[in-house]
Amino acid sequence: MPAFHPADPVVPVGPVLSMFDPVFLGVDEFGLPVYESLIYRNLLAGGEPGAGKSGLLNTICAHAALATDTRLCLLDAKTVELGLWQDIADVFVGPDLPHATATLRRLQQVMDNRYAWLRAGKRRKITRTDRLSVIVVVVDEIAYYSATVGTRADQEEFSALLRDLVARGRACGLIVVAATQRPSVDIIPTSLRDIFGYRMAFRCTTYISSDIVLGHGWAAQGYTAHTIAATDSSRGIGWLIAEGGTPRKLRVAYLTDDQIAYLVDYATRIRHHLSVPDLRIAAAAPAAA
């Protein structure tokens, strides 16, 4: 349970992060840190069970949690992978397809309103100075919502809504980060998979699976995740396609449960003071932008 500090005399103004800042993801094969800017981007991660996908999502959540301009919207069919962030998330959806669909529909509405707001200000995308929150939508195990439970129509509705968020959410500060083991057509529509700009392939069992995550043809050029060893010491290693376009091998940073608890505790403290009221006011005054 995060501690609340309602009577805190001092608001910690330490290093306040923003989702507009590059996110620390891990270390590349040359031992150098990898920072990627996720704003105006979407990320899809794939890889066999236990490869480290949820580790990546947690690392991104950690940055989002400490970014006071950010709201977290978590969909986690396993509930435990992102469950530690539940207390600072605006929405936490477990294995519940109707709840997931309803949440995506809410986000769609926010997106439409933001575009209306931007249009009123004769602008095309939100920037750091807008004081509008960035909404990070993290979906772990998309397959559960898009191919496992519910009727075909429900699953298709979920996929269609998610596709809309990925397709249109970019400019209004909506970032979708999703993970599933093998994003093939029977799990998510190709039209949804192919619009994720950033990809990360953790260990796969075949090079075809690796290509499904990274995009066709990378395996032939030697960028394939099936060569990553299946040992404990290579968990969290994968190929990332981000800025630059060529896959980079990296090992994602890993947060222990204690570290996450500490981060959540601190994030609760800084978020409690900073985020909510300001954002409402800023959003009400588009002319000021």
């Binding site: 349970m1 995060p2 501690a3 910690p12 330490g14 290093p15 992060l17 620390f24 891990g26 270390v27 590349d28 094969e29 040359f30 031992g31 150098l32 690392t59 950690a62 940055h63 400490l66 093939s184 057509v185 029977d186 190709t190 075809i208 499904i212 066709h216 010491s233 290579s234 969290g236 290693i237 630059g244 060529t246 091998k249 990296l250 090992r251 994602v252 940073a253 890993y254 947060l255 570290q259 608890a261 500490y262 981060l263 959540v264 505790d265 601190y266 403290r269």
Partner: protein, 320 residues
């Protein structure tokens, strides 16, 4: 510049240069010197004419015709000679750059020695210098840093040998790339290379195993700069940088006065059915097996939706 009439490439020059065993140590070989003389002459005339002519044109409105021509001649000569000297000395300049680290270190040591000898006897100065040089090697972090820098120096030379082999094997008159600088990375070294006409990244792509061998490394990779095809970043790995669990720096950004959360007591959970026998078996629909009716498999049903048409780009292969 090596041409068809003068087929001696810089590569062969450097080859001769490497054959110490045969008792021939050539710093800059004959062909190379001839090529740079030719280049220097061309450079001189081009600079002389261009700079001279533009100076004359620029000076005509402000001085007399004679003075303008004189100024033009002098400026042209000055520009031409500068270009001549630079072009003629280019092989030497390149060599200096190639050995820059060694040259700097040696000159620094000599300078330090000469300064020391002004205040103490020569043997004492030598001992002091030896201690000052060897001292950092006894201290772990300093030693690691120095060794990493040492590898950078070695790698620059080894990489040049590699490029020479590649050019040799292609039987072209490509010129050796300029090895710009190297810096240590946690896994090895990162070297910047400026390729010159006759060689491109695809020529090297299949030979990185050889580069790794030549540099005594585990692996070698190269990427070109987005802007210039000639600028390459070569990464050599000697250690596995991905073996250890990577820590997130975010926990360190939390101010030290923020208390660590006490381990929270587990929330009371009223979850039952945590084991398989706790979940009742569903009523099997075909109990007729037990009642003696023979079991028949269901007839195959037609697929609910027709398979998607095989369009290029659609991953129908995934269905396999």
């Amino acid at each position: 510049m090596p041409t068809r009439s003068m087929p001696r490439s810089t590569y062969q020059g450097s080859r001769t240069h490497r054959r110490f065993g045969r008792g021939r140590i050539t710093v800059i070989d004959q062909g190379l010197a001839y090529a740079s003389l030719r280049r220097a002459k061309i450079g001189f005339w081009i600079a002389f004419l261009l700079i001279g002519a533009s100076t004359v044109v620029g000076a005509l409105p402000v001085t007399t015709t004679g003075a303008a021509w004189l100024i033009g001649l002098l400026t042209g000569l000055a520009a031409g000679s500068t270009v001549f000297v630079l072009a003629f000395c280019w092989p030497a300049l390149r060599l200096t750059w190639h050995w820059a680290a060694e040259l700097t270190a040696t000159s620094f040591l000599l300078w330090a020695y000469s300064v020391l000898t002004t205040v103490m006897a020569a043997p004492t100065a030598l001992v002091v210098l030896l201690l000052a040089t060897g001292g950092p090697f006894t201290f772990g972090p300093a030693r690691r840093r120095l060794l990493a820098l040492g590898w950078c120096v070695i790698t620059r030379h080894r990489l040049r040998v590699c490029f020479a082999e590649v050019i040799h094997d292609r039987h072209t008159d490509g010129r050796l790339p300029l090895i710009l600088w190297a810096r240590p990375t946690p896994a090895g070294e990162r070297i910047w290379v400026w390729l010159r006409a006759g060689l491109a990244l695809p020529d090297l792509a299949e030979r990185f195993e050889e580069v790794a061998v030549a540099c005594w490394a585990t692996e070698a990779h190269a990427v070109r700069s987005e802007k210039w095809a000639a600028l390459l970043r070569v990464d050599l790995t000697r250690r596995n940088a991905l073996a250890a669990v990577v820590d997130s720096p975010l926990t360190d950004t939390i101010p030290a006065d923020h208390p660590r959360p006490r381990p929270a007591p587990p929330r009371p959970a009223f979850v039952t059915g945590l084991d398989l026998p706790d979940i009742p078996e569903p009523q099997a629909p075909d109990l007729h097996r037990r009642t003696g009716t023979p079991f028949r498999p269901a007839p195959p049903r037609p697929p609910a939706t027709p398979p998607p048409p095989a369009t290029p780009g659609d991953d129908t292969a995934d269905w396999i």
